[in-house]
């Protein structure tokens, strides 16, 4: 009886010691694997295709149907347009108030010509609330905004 107990003990010890060695070999292997860390501000992960970032506008495609304004649950979009003499409509303003936007993507979904798109821009913090409310036709301001945190 005592002998079997002893054998069991020695066996347990051997298994335990071997498991320690095994554990060390695993960590050693991982030590030389490439790290998965992304050095964020200098390196960035590519965003998924359907990622919903800041709303973007392609003004030349817009037909001024106002569907985006109607569907927006928070009412963050506001459009004005004017009709020229030849009855062609042109956009005047395309206000986008990011403070209200909930990034649901309904405006992009409902847009018949895909003039509104959800971009992959996510670095959209600013120091001034007023800067969140911009005219999407003002390309320069838009670039300034989206480029502000990238640089």
């Amino acid at each position: 009886m005592a002998v079997t107990k002893m054998i069991k003990r020695v066996k347990n010890f051997a298994v335990g010691a071997w498991s320690l060695v095994k554990g060390l070999s695993v960590t050693l292997k991982y030590c030389f694997k490439p790290a998965v860390t992304v050095q964020y501000p200098t390196q960035k992960l590519p965003m998924a295709e359907r990622f919903r970032g800041l709303v973007g506008l392609r003004p030349e495609k817009c037909i001024m149907c106002y569907q985006c304004v109607k569907i927006c649950p928070t009412g963050c979009l506001a459009i004005t347009h004017k009709v020229q003499e030849d009855k062609k409509k042109t956009l005047e303003t395309f206000r986008y108030n990011m403070e209200l936007c909930c990034f649901c993507g309904l405006c992009a979904q409902v847009c018949p010509t895909s003039a509104i798109i959800m971009t992959d821009i996510y670095e959209i913090t600013v120091y001034d609330r007023a800067k969140l409310n911009i005219d999407l036709l003002d390309a320069k301001k838009y670039d300034e905004w989206t480029g502000a945190t990238i640089k």
Binding site: T27, Y30, C31, F32, K33, P34, A35, T37
Partner: protein, 321 residues
């Protein structure tokens, strides 16, 4: 008169050199530990301050130096204030007898290894004082556990050191190194066993994982240094990493041939071996889970102590045969 002044200046310079080495070594080790742990976990660790974050520890030290000195309301002031010094001062004192090279030793005491073990045991007093003085149940439990653990593991540690001392026939660190000029002691089978026992006990002595129950985060917050912040916390930290360096330096001296080695200068060989052992300790730390308290005590008294006693008896028989 002239000689004594010169001696005094020399002593001060030596002290400064040791303190500088300790601070630099501790900062390097903290950075290195963070790097090793990060790569074991497929991370990068500090990368921003300096090349691959080498200056991170310097930045952290400056931050700790500038922090407000917070004294909790309920602490036993004297004990609480003295505790960090009781941890750091023995670490510094131990450096007196560590041989970095042939003549690169502050004082080659004829009881070198005994002196080192005696002095480094004082460190546990500091840890216990920190636990007692903090007036915090986590700290107290941490201090108690630390005292119990260090006293238990001191036994197998010293018994395995005696094996080396018996083979070298001396307690002087330099003589032990000189005895290993031909081959390292670790190549002896009974010395190999002593080396393994020494490394396990040393890991427990310096409160490192898997023997870090005095500061087990999941049970005791931070253990004995829960109430400490700023420079006092930094002193515990420096003490901890200096202790790691000291036990690895002793292992190098006793088992791995000390500063002996071809081509490179002795001091470089000594540092390579010591930091190699420290890296292995870090590797172990980031691999194994923590032991339970009862397992820990049982392991010290029921396994390590009998085995090292047996090893001692066998070594004695081999020497007297």
């Amino acid at each position: 008169m002239m000689v004594s002044v010169l001696d005094f200046i020399l002593a001060v310079l030596t002290g400064l050199a040791i303190l500088g080495f300790i601070a630099g070594s501790a900062m390097f080790l903290i950075w290195w530990e963070r790097k090793v742990s990060a790569h074991i976990q497929s991370r990068l660790g500090p990368m921003r301050v300096g090349w691959h974050g080498v200056l991170q520890s310097v930045a952290d030290t400056i931050k700790l130096l500038l922090k407000e000195n917070i004294v909790p309301a309920g602490v036993d002031k004297l004990v609480w204030w003295l505790a960090p010094f009781f941890v750091v001062v023995p670490c510094v004192m131990v450096f007196v007898a560590i041989p970095f090279g042939k003549n690169l030793i502050v004082k080659d005491l004829n009881v070198g290894i005994l002196y080192i073990l005696a002095v480094s045991s004082v460190g546990v007093l500091g840890i216990f004082m920190a636990g007692w003085g903090s007036n915090n149940k986590y700290s107290l439990l941490g201090g108690m556990r630390s005292a119990a653990q260090i006293i238990s593991y001191e036994l197998p540690l010293i018994l395995s050191v005696i094996v080396v001392a018996m083979n070298a026939g001396s307690l002087s660190m330099q003589k032990i190194v000189a005895a290993q000029s031909g081959y390292w002691y670790v190549l002896h089978p009974n010395m190999l066993l002593a080396f393994v026992i020494y490394m396990i006990s040393a890991t427990a002595e310096v409160n490192r994982v898997p023997f870090d129950i005095p500061e087990a985060e999941s049970e005791l917050v931070a253990g004995f240094h829960t109430e400490y912040s700023g420079m006092k916390f930094a002193m515990f930290f420096i003490g901890e990493y200096t202790n790691v360096f000291v036990v690895s330096a002793i292992a190098t001296t006793l088992f791995l041939g000390g500063w002996h080695g071809p081509i490179l200068p002795p001091a470089v060989w000594f540092l390579i071996k010591t930091y190699g052992i420290i890296t292995v300790l870090m590797w172990v730390r980031w691999t194994f889970p923590r032991l339970r308290v009862d397992q820990l005590m049982g392991f010290a008294w029921k396994v390590l102590t009998p085995v090292s006693l047996l090893n001692l008896a066998v070594t004695g028989w081999l020497l007297l045969r």
